[in-house]
């Protein structure tokens, strides 16, 4: 149940891509006929993606990943607006692609403010709005967290911003295609999304930028995507992204209902059956397929490895799973201490999961946890303290 990292490609999406891996191999920039099929695929996908988020198709720029879309948004908008001011606000729980892009802008002379979150991982609009200054040119707040699933009150933030003030960007990589996303309702001027987060292909992502908002390209080069994102277009990936967007829009409600049901079953089960477990993120305002926990006294990587031996895939925000060997900044920003953060585990449910899967996790997770606790010096200390 690691659908985020390993979202299966929908068969329909695959079908939409295959022609472009075969005979329709044209270049959309070419004048000749063979380019026309590719151009149609590109423009069709642009409309499908725009429709998913309520934007206009000319406002969509295709990129190669959510990371690239976020880099382009943060750096491109900040650089384009640097004459108006050099202050950026990002939330404390942004993905590294936003967070580190902001840090790069810091090296380019910008000042960065971090908007805090509460214990559910929710940005506090009043706190964020207090940080806004006359020279604030960009605010980036994710739409939903890919680690704890919390959905952010973007519309409330947008409503509190001065007119013609900062540009509001949202990283909707974890949310787009999974919950309703409407750029107008959210009140944002730029939005990042990625196909592989809703059963579309890898290498397919997009940045929506409201008409009129200035942005400098991240990549310099030729004329593709109107010069905003040059480089030979990955037509099969883009065609797949379009199809995935169309399907996501079509099936959104049904899918949300189904996944929320499974998620709640999993959350209740884990909290009920695993002692010393806590839910991370917001209890209600969370992504449909996201069930995330911290399990005390044990460490995430070990949990994942044992789950894996039972055929269960999951993710973790523990230090050991991060390669940088640092516990998730998202968990820490929510006030979870380092020790508890080590026991983080995240299950993400997708179209291939059903109640049987959830039951299977609920059968095996307690065993895995127990086995690791039996090995844990922290747990034995805890038991001794309880006794003594």
């Amino acid at each position: 149940m690691d659908n985020v990292a390993a979202a299966p490609l929908l068969p329909e999406v695959r079908e939409a891509m295959l022609p472009y891996l075969g005979q329709i191999f044209g270049n959309p920039q070419s004048l000749h006929n063979w380019g026309d099929g590719a151009r149609e695929a590109l423009e069709g996908a642009r409309e499908q993606v725009a429709a998913l988020i309520g934007g206009a198709s000319e406002e969509i720029v295709f990129t190669s990943s959510g990371t690239e879309a976020n880099n382009m948004a943060v750096k491109g908008i900040a650089r384009a607006r640097s004459e108006k001011g050099k202050h950026i606000i990002v939330s404390a729980i942004e993905h590294f692609s936003v967070f580190n892009s902001a840090r790069t802008m810091q090296r380019e002379g910008f000042e960065i403010s971090l908007a805090p979150v509460d214990s559910t991982g929710t940005v506090i609009p009043a706190e964020l709005l207090k940080l806004v200054r006359p020279d604030t040119v960009l605010i980036s707040v994710m739409h939903a967290s890919g680690e704890v699933g919390t959905i952010q009150p973007l519309a409330e933030i947008a409503a509190g911003l001065p007119k013609d003030g900062p540009v509001l960007h949202t990283d909707a990589v974890a949310s787009a295609g999974n919950i309703p996303v409407d750029v107008k309702k959210l009140g944002v001027q730029a939005l990042s999304m990625a196909g592989n987060q809703f059963n579309g292909p890898r290498g397919s992502a997009a940045l929506w930028i409201k008409r009129g908002v200035r942005i400098l390209p991240l990549l310099d080069g030729g004329i593709q995507e109107g010069g905003r994102r040059p480089g030979t277009e990955d037509v099969p990936a883009i065609a797949g992204l379009g199809k995935a967007a169309e399907i996501a829009k079509r099936d959104l409600e049904v899918r949300m209902e189904r996944l929320s049901g499974l998620r709640d079953m999993l959350i209740e089960g884990v909290l009920g059956e695993v002692e010393h477990s806590v839910l991370t993120g917001h209890p209600v305002n969370r992504l449909p397929g996201y069930a995330s926990f911290c399990l005390r006294f044990i460490e995430g990587e070990a949990i994942l490895m044992l789950l894996n031996s039972h055929g269960i895939a999951a993710a973790s925000g523990s230090a050991c799973t991060s390669r940088a060997l640092k516990a998730s900044h998202v968990l820490l920003a929510m006030g979870i201490n380092h020790e508890l953060a080590q026991g983080s585990v995240l299950f993400t449910l997708g179209p291939n999961n059903d109640a049987e899967d959830v039951k299977y996790v609920l059968e095996n997770l307690p065993k895995v946890v127990d086995r690791l606790r039996q090995m844990s010096p922290l747990y034995s200390k805890y038991l001794k303290e309880q006794k003594g």
Binding site: A319, C320, T321, S376, S380
Partner: protein, 145 residues
């Protein structure tokens, strides 16, 4: 190319000598949960030999496999022999560790070392190979080693 070698996986899935020794002759604890890894080693010494060794480990797959391997390597050895177990020996016996997990193999050897030291202090003896290696004092805030 899985992250871990077969050997690491074997030890992780079936770690040897897990547990505590109630009346241990020496106990050594290292690491802390903030860093993600913590180990407590227990030894039972008889005739200058490690008659029994057990441990508890909080940490990643590598930390657990390393603990298991260290316990295997030193069980039945003299204290002097046990002190010659180095982190790189442990990593080698495990058929390698990912670069960012090498610090785990340091922890295992250090925890054992501490247990032997604890034994030496309690019994007021001097063991060759012990005093010349100064334990680096742990810093709560410096997790990387």
């Amino acid at each position: 190319m899985p992250v871990y070698s077969e050997k690491v996986m074997q030890h992780f899935m079936n770690p040897h000598n897990v547990g505590e020794i109630e009346d241990a002759d020496g106990v050594g604890e290292i690491g802390n949960p903030v860093c993600g890894d913590m180990m407590t080693f227990y030894i039972k010494v008889k005739d200058n030999r490690i008659e029994d060794v057990k441990y508890k480990t909080f940490g990643c797959g590598a930390a657990i496999a390393v603990s298991s391997m260290v316990s295997d390597l030193v069980k039945g050895k003299t204290l002097e022999e046990a002190l010659t177990v180095t982190p790189s020996m442990v990593a080698k016996e495990l058929e390698g560790l990912p670069k960012n997990k090498l610090h785990c193999s340091n922890l295992g050897a250090q925890a054992l070392h501490k247990a032997i030291k604890n034994y030496a202090i309690k019994n007021k003896i001097d063991i060759p190979g012990l005093t010349d290696k100064e334990e680096p004092e742990e810093d709560e805030h410096a997790c990387e080693t």
